[in-house]
Amino acid sequence: MTGVAALRASAMSDPAARGRATSLVLGLVVLWPLLVIAEFKPAAIFEAQNLKTMAGFLAAFLPPETGQEFLVYLGRATLETLAIATAGIVLAFALAMPLALLTTRVLSVAEIGPGPGRRRAQALHYLLRAVLTVLRGIPELVWALVFVRVFGLGPAAGVLALALTYGGMLAKVYAEILESGDTRPARAILEAGGSRLQALLYGLLPGTAQELTSYTVYRWECAVRASVVMGFVGAGGLGQLMDQAMKMLNGGEASTILLTFLALVLAADALSGFLRRQVGEAGTGGRRSGIGSVGVLLGLAGAAAAAISFVYLGIGFGALLTLESLRSIGDFTASFFPPDLSPQWLSRVGYGVIETLAISAVGTLLAVVGGVVLALPASGRYGLAAEQFARFFLNTLRSVPELVWATLTALSVGLGPFAGVLALALHTTGVLGRLFAEALQNAPPQPRDALRDAGAQPAAAFLYGTLPEVAPQWLAYALYRWEMNIRMAAILGFVGAGGLGQLLYFELSLFHYAQACTVIVAMLLLSIAVDAASAGARRRLA
């Protein structure tokens, strides 16, 4: 071979080929067992028999059920869902405020320097932070499932479940927000001998109130979605109706409930956006005028909504605090301990963890593929019509919660892990597609244009001009969603989609609380591990 030919050959071949091939092979080696565990059998979707069942069920969606009796139930359930979300957030706020106050490091005199109570204060901080981790590490659906047993049927369980999970979440984020701002005023107040509360009110709140309010309102919006889903375990509201309609294959009722749900989520979205904009304006324009009249009005409206929610749900918190009910809560909690740590049970739970991981990983991968495919038209590359259609499609995918998708996919491919994979993939495609499209639109056009001007094909211009710009962002989004999907996969089992949720549901149904406790602990450890891993991964990406 002449030197020139060799040079040309090496110029034509991809210098990174070797590395890429290795990672491709490695990827396949890792992916293969995941696919097996997740029972990935796409052919099942297209089997004539399954298509027919699915088509029959979907055909029954039309016309939506509009019987008056049903609409009355539906109306009541919708109000209940809203009230659960609102009351839950109010309680979560009440729980989060003191916890945030106690765990924010910049509000602690002991953290400033060595003093007599420093060790003790730090130990207390770690303890409280651990409590927060437990509160938000256990999914709200699990709390709801447990509370339904203790507090009886209906919305009380949902409200308390939201209060605990969201209380833990709010407290953590409040503390982060409070620590991220300018902390010097707070420190000055503390050093001048001011109290913790004074340092918060006059040192930290003025700078962070806007962000805190905004985040709280955003969480309320999330709570509306979550309170729908909690109905699946008997905690009242729309979810309970939806669960039954789906199980009984009542298409007409299912479609009316689904439409109501979509309208509710869109309305909550819009209201939350409006409120956050109001808060934003108050922050920029109105700092000198204090809270401002709009703020006072909104605050009063919020307080009224909260009061109405509690009255509407008629939860007897007084009755919860009687000696007798406290004892029954105590007995109930005690029956969970000690957890079953026998080798057989641990190995089953261990397999459940692996199954949960496999479901989430395969579901997220499928969603990445689907997201890229839909993001291209949604970013406007193929004209306005394609863009509008793709966006509408993505919004629909995204608006239906994973649990609802799972009841549908279980119908089409049968109960089991694969139904969970598809449910995660469908919802996540909606989320990732939109984020991917935004990243595409924000990518600088120069590299691509330069390649096109140099005569490159559109595909090559995309691969070498645009893709490198957006890839890191896409990867970050995908990792973040994977993290959320692991948590979600743990509970999809409640509707029969495999993993830890199915184990938990089965054991709780049979009152095998020691076994259920092991599963809950496994969910908690998984959530903590994922938290730590993703924080590490993001630090490396950043």
Partner: protein, 294 residues
């Protein structure tokens, strides 16, 4: 001015928050004292359907007991049991297995008072769409659908009778699914999602009557021996006078009486008969040997 306004707003918000805590708790505890009979049922059918079916019976019980009757719809079997045990319910429509669970969780105090004549000799049907499945042994290595894990006729008794026939549900099936409800099990078998499944005979008959199942495709290949199923149970510390009133009210129901006919038809009952705890000892033993009770 601004400070006073801000302080006022803060105070107002604080008072509102406090009020939103205290007011409902006062209202709530007051409501619990009222003269209300709280009734629920295990969700073997849609809650809307259960509520509709219960409405005339509820009115009848209101008249007979002189109490307000409120029906609490549920979607979780176990929640009904736990609510009875924690005295959140007074009267509940339970299955045989859920009754045994309730008995255990109330330390033996829950009292079954009444059942339909049909419940004393209840059966389950094994169904399949696979022509090669003709008996229990053919089920080895197949996928199988039960109803809810807490169901007597959709899970416990079939599992027990399979075990008697030498089939261990956890080992011998390729995959076990819980469809959640009896009619869902039929849908799974009809669509070939599960090779075979099992459901309560009464729901099967109802589906066949209503032509909701294609009997050319899905057929019954085995029927279990009879066992005791559903009953109406009260919590053990309910006023004995009230328990007596309730029992008599059910026993008085007569399908020949036109006023009662609607109630009986909705409950799918020809006659209500008294029942006792001992009737369910067989179910308890079955649950123990099937490993569902620990």
């Amino acid at each position: 001015m601004n400070h006073t306004l801000r302080r006022l707003a803060l105070k107002g918000a604080f008072v509102c928050a406090l009020a939103s805590f205290l007011v409902p708790s006062l209202i709530g505890s007051a409501a619990a004292q009222e003269n209300v009979l709280r009734v629920s049922a295990i969700p073997d059918e849609a809650p809307t359907e259960l509520q509709r079916k219960f409405a005339p019976l509820g009115k009848y019980l209101e008249k007979e007991t002189g109490m307000k009757v409120s029906f609490v719809p549920v979607s979780d079997y176990a929640a009904v049991v736990e609510s009875l045990a924690t005295k959140k319910l007074d009267l509940a429509w339970l299955g045989g297995f859920t009754f045994v669970q309730a008995k255990i969780r109330t330390n033996g105090t829950a009292i079954p008072i009444i059942q339909r004549e049909e419940d004393a000799k209840f059966t389950s049907k094994f169904v399949t769409a696979d022509p090669n499945i003709k008996s229990y042994v053919d089920l080895k290595g197949k996928t199988f659908a039960f109803g809810s894990p807490s169901s007597t006729s959709g899970h416990l008794m079939p599992r027990f009778f399979l075990q008697q026939a030498g089939i261990a549900a956890d080992k011998d099936f390729r995959n076990v699914a819980f469809s959640g409800a009896h009619d869902a099990t039929v849908a799974f078998v009809a669509a070939g999602k599960a090779d075979a499944g099992v459901l309560n005979a009464s729901v099967w008959d109802k589906l066949v009557e209503a032509k909701k199942v294609d009997t050319d495709k899905v057929r019954v290949f085995a029927t279990t021996p009879p066992y005791f199923d559903y009953n109406w149970t009260v919590r053990g510390d309910l006023d004995p006078a009230l328990v007596k009133k309730l029992t008599e009210a059910f026993l008085k129901l007569d399908s020949k009486n036109p006023e009662h006919a609607e109630i009986m038809q909705l409950q799918r009952a020809s006659k209500f008969i008294p029942t006792k705890r001992e009737n369910y000892d067989g179910i308890e033993k079955a649950a123990q040997s099937a490993g569902l009770l620990k």
